[in-house]
Amino acid sequence: MHRKIALKPIALVLFLLSMVSYGKDQHGHEEPNTGKTTEAEVKEYIQHHLKDSYDFNLFSYKTDAGEEKHIGFPLPVILWDNGLKVFSSSRFHHGEAVAEVDGNFYKLHHSKIYRVESPEGEIIEDEHQHPINERPLDFSITKNVVMIFMMFALMLFMFRRMAMGYKLNGRMPRGMGRFLEPIVLYIRDEIAIPNIGEKHYKRYMSYLLTVFFFVWIVNLFGLTPIGMNLTNNIAVTLCLALITYVITTFSGNKNYWKHIFWMPGVPVPMKIILAPIELLGTFIKPFALMIRLYANITAGHVVLMSIIGMVFLLENWLGSSLSFLLAFVLAILELLVAALQAYIFTVLSALYFGMAVEEHDHH
């Protein structure tokens, strides 16, 4: 029993240490391995954490001989470069090697795949340190794509089960459904109906429910040590915001477009001035949705990980334990943020749908 308890903090420390050593590996800083953590290493690790990766790395460590060991598994790389190229990410050897596929050579640079000319091919950078090498179209199953697949399976399983529960239990939820039903009802009664209205809300329920649970669960997964943060990828939030934008635009009725292009109730010159502003507004709204979700989650991760890094930087018991406490409190705050951002995304989406289908002229 005592052993078990003692193992937990040790495991945690080991894990945190492993994160730090991983950061070292990625950028190949040739500093002498003094066993101390530097500020730069923490920064790099955070940078790395926020990026997608081509293999599913659980953790890495350094052997006594200074050799990097990575625990995890490779994922398939799918490229479109004059034909479909599928190969395992293990060929990159964690970014250390050039992968050769059908006579083409590919190299990982800052977690991105570039085409290089030869097996010894180097990345050529311009004066702004941007690589000028060609990048093939990349549809790889990266760590984040694995996460999307997992979410797909998990949500399908969860909510299918919940739906089946109603059949088996005579219109009453059972099991997990008891927990999920109040949330589903909350989204219906407090988000969809007030914002969209009794008449139209049903059409948008599927999207609102899916987006809420998707963002929420993904955010929660992002807080786990596996570190798969979908929502700190601008591509993911852009995709979600774009879907909201497309739904809003396609469900916009006459009244909605009239309010954009020919605002009723104001003088004609104002109408002309307002039209481009309102039109721009339709783009800004989903853009803000995208940035808000992305920035909140990313910022949360950066701050949380910086404070975890401070545990190692402040090498005295007071500073480190205070940082640990702060990190703990912040992690709890992040739990709240995870739900809050999902809620905000859903509410605002519902609000935009509501504007699009609003019928009465209230001016």
Partner: protein, 166 residues
């Protein structure tokens, strides 16, 4: 902003778009629709049950009110019947009294009439007896004093007149 663009990954975007839209559609068919339908039907059921209970309560109240009314009516009827019976009893007693009075009055009148008749008969009888007695006396007087008959009759008559007055 530049960093954002750099960070953007088309592959991830495409996967997210495809899988997310598929997820929305699949969940709509297999999860959200059955869940929301179940919840709706349950809510409808609850509402109907509540309405039914409310109606039952109202009906119950109506029934109770009816019962109360019936009870009141029955009570009133009983009251009326009792009153009728009492009235009838009083009337009968009254009638009986009246009849008895009439009968007794009649009896009294008859008795008086009989007494009167008897009295008259008695007086007549007495008169006859007195007359015969007087005649006897007169005979005796006549036997004794035939000569002075007229004078004697006159005397007898005057004596008789006195006797009648008694």
């Amino acid at each position: 902003m530049e960093k954002l663009f750099e960070h953007f990954s088309l592959g991830l975007f495409v996967w997210q778009a495809v899988l997310f839209i598929a997820l929305v559609l699949l969940l709509k068919k297999f999860a959200w629709k059955p869940i929301l339908d179940s919840v709706n039907s349950r809510e409808e059921g609850i509402k109907e049950a509540l309405d039914a209970a409310e109606n039952a309560k109202l009906e119950m109240e109506n029934l109770q009110a009816d019962n109360q009314k019936l009870l009141k009516e029955a009570r009133a009827e009983r009251e009326a019947m009792l009153k009728d019976a009492r009235d009838m009893k009083n009337k009968m007693i009254e009638d009986a009294k009246e009849e008895a009075k009439e009968a007794s009055a009649k009896l009294i009148a008859q008795a008086q009439a009989t007494i009167e008749t008897e009295k008259k008969a008695a007086i007549a009888d007495l008169k006859a007896q007195v007359a015969s007695l007087s005649i006897e006396i007169a005979e005796k007087v006549v036997r004794d004093e035939l000569s002075n008959k007229d004078k004697q009759v006159k005397l007898v008559e005057s004596m008789l007149g006195e006797a009648t007055l008694n």
